[in-house]
């Protein structure tokens, strides 16, 4: 299974210019709203037509502007799951799933529908109409309907974003199970990076219609490479830098000097660190002259169910609430141990975790 996409499309607000290849694994398309991820999916499905380029699936050409090939959606063998389900409101769940099944006998159709219903755990709801189901159930029907025709590619366009949080994680688990038994390729569009990370093996990060990062998800998260990718993958702290020597930079926005593991190149303009990778030092004795270790004052905190986000000012006390350098995330247990200590605290920015960024 192999999908090659190389397309350009002119759009009112930006131009889409995307190329990538998927083989076997589940690919996540990550990007903010309007980055072109949904449009890319629609072009692959034949719902939208690119301005030019090629789309090839295995040895079939789905679209080629030079050869004048533009296969209609119906011949592309793609399954599409829409954000808002797009179930046919006038058909029952079973009829929805059976819609794409052609040339099968009545009993064979019935059997396939039953299999699909069983797989998404909706066996007893086959006679219901879509409006009688919850959002999560509707999306499971949509998934079953797309998979019933055994498409070569399954395209999921933000399938969970219209759902409540608890339904989301439940559906996500089910999707991962379902995908493990699916032989085709899967493209999963999301603007939720954690969701994309859990569901997919590979990621494609889009910004303004361009691919800004592609590859193994772990690599992209660990070494985002550019500022845009760092931001899109949820990196909260970054600063402009001034080169001092090969392994030392001045972080201008954090007013401190940092040692790095990677050598600093002229292309690097920023340095970043993820909020949960900031270390709070416990021992007070060996502190002052260690590299990358700084006194820090808590400016303010913000609480989430399990974690605390702590806004920190380095090297001197803050003037007001907006006067902070870094945000750090710590688990509640850790926070309980930290919170009553006298200021300043000492934090350590591990050189392994600092990532040099290009613009």
């Amino acid at each position: 299974m192999k999908l090659i996409v190389e397309i350009q499309k002119q759009l009112p607000h930006y131009d889409l210019d995307i190329s990538f290849t998927v083989e076997g694994e589940t690919l996540g398309l990550l990007g903010s709203s309007g980055s072109g991820k949904s449009m890319t999916l629609r072009c692959i499905a034949g719902i939208e037509t690119p301005t030019q380029g090629t789309i090839a699936l295995n040895d079939r050409i789905l679209y080629d502007s030079h050869k004048g090939i533009n296969l209609p959606s119906r011949d592309r063998k793609v399954g599409f799951v829409f954000q808002h389900y797009a179930l046919f409101p006038h058909m029952t769940v079973a009829q929805n799933i059976a819609y794409g099944l052609r040339g099968l006998s009545k009993s064979a159709t019935h059997q396939r529908v039953t299999e699909q219903l069983k797989q998404v755990q909706l066996l007893e709801l086959g006679d219901r109409y879509p409006h009688q189901l919850s959002g999560g159930q509707q999306q499971r029907v949509a998934l079953a309907r797309a998979l019933a025709t055994e498409p070569d590619v399954l395209l999921l366009d933000e399938p969970f974003s219209a759902l409540d949080t608890h339904l989301r994680s439940e559906l996500e688990k089910q999707l991962i199970t379902t995908l493990s038994s699916y032989r085709g390729l899967t493209l999963f569009v999301s603007h939720n990076l954690e969701e994309a990370y859990r569901v997919c093996q590979k990621l494609l990060v889009l910004d303004q219609g361009k691919v800004v990062a592609a590859g193994d998800k772990q690599v992209i998260f660990d070494r985002p490479g550019t500022l845009a990718v760092a931001q899109l993958t949820g990196c909260k702290n970054y600063s402009r830098i001034q080169h001092i020597n090969r392994y030392t930079v001045r972080a201008l926005d954090w007013s401190c000097i940092l040692q790095t593991v990677d050598s600093v190149l002229p292309v690097h303009t920023h340095i970043g660190i993820r909020a949960h990778q900031i270390t709070f030092l416990d021992t007070l004795d060996q502190i002052p002259d260690q590299p990358n270790t700084f006194p820090a004052w808590v400016v303010w905190t913000s609480e989430t169910p399990h974690r605390m986000t702590v806004y920190l000012k380095l090297r001197e006390p803050p003037i007001d609430l907006d006067d902070y350098h870094l945000q750090a995330e710590v688990f509640k247990e850790k926070w309980e141990r930290l919170k009553n200590r006298p200021m300043p605290w000492f934090i350590y920015l591990n050189s392994d975790r600092l990532t040099l960024l290009q613009p």
Partner: protein, 246 residues
């Protein structure tokens, strides 16, 4: 005396309904789905019978069906002063209601439903037959009900192209006029009652269809109301992309 116009009205309405259904449905679908230069001109022309005096519509129909018209000269069909001409007049006057309702109902169908059907292997014709028209069904039927009611009551244009020949072209509305002219009020009363009842029933049916539109159905099922609301929630991002060509 009352049966003849009643039967003629029925004949005229049935034939007019067939024309309204076929023409109105295709024109409505066409206008909802295709963009072409001069679209506004075409839909304005189609809506003219709504506002023109019936005599003007009748006059145009005389030109279209009478001496010198292709139908008369080339095909040799003389429709003037037949009940079929009355049916054509009814259909033309009622058509705008059907076209407009159909167009609105079809345009309202979520384009993602059609896109989904296409990815599931449907041809354009199949999409239209199995998804678009069935989903828009209530709106189309409501438009049809309105048009039939309007066509049934057609008077002016019918008078001009079919006349008011008792037993041949005199439908109920024309017969009522005659009865009043001849001061046969009992007869007029009966026919007025029949017309009013039929019109009322048709309009009631149309309202009923509109009230049962799937988007309003939750009002009958309070336990599902919240869910329905959630499932119809849209964010600004995906609600419009297909239309605006984003």
């Amino acid at each position: 005396m009352i049966w003849q116009p009643a039967i003629l009205s029925l004949q005229v309405t049935v034939l007019a309904s067939v024309m309204i259904l076929l023409l109105g449905l295709s024109l409505g679908i066409f206008l909802a789905r295709k963009q072409f230069p001069g679209q506004i001109v075409v839909s304005t022309l189609l809506n003219l019978p709504l506002v023109l005096p019936p005599s003007v519509v009748g006059y145009f129909l005389l030109l279209a069906l009478g001496r010198g018209s292709p139908i008369k000269e080339w095909l040799g069909i003389d429709l003037l002063f037949t009940w079929q001409a009355g049916a054509i007049a009814s259909a033309v006057v009622a058509l705008p209601l059907m076209v407009e309702s159909t167009r609105a109902a079809i345009a309202n169908v979520n384009p993602e439903l059609e896109a989904a059907a296409r990815t599931l292997g449907s041809t354009e014709w199949e999409v239209l037959r199995r998804i678009t028209v069935p989903v828009a069904y209530r709106g189309i039927l409501a438009g049809f009900g309105l048009s039939v009611a309007r066509g049934l009551g057609e008077f002016g244009a019918t008078l001009m192209v079919a006349g008011s020949i008792p037993g041949r072209t005199q439908t109920l509305p024309l017969a009522i006029y005659d009865a009043v002219q001849m001061q046969r009020y009992t007869l007029a009363n009966v026919m007025v009652l029949i017309m009013t009842t039929i019109a009322f029933v048709l309009l009631w049916w149309v309202r009923h269809l509109e009230a049962q539109h799937p988007h309003n159905r939750t009002q009958r099922q309070p336990q599902l109301q919240k869910r329905r609301h959630e499932t119809h929630r849209r964010d600004s991002k995906t609600a419009s992309p297909l239309r605006s060509g984003y």
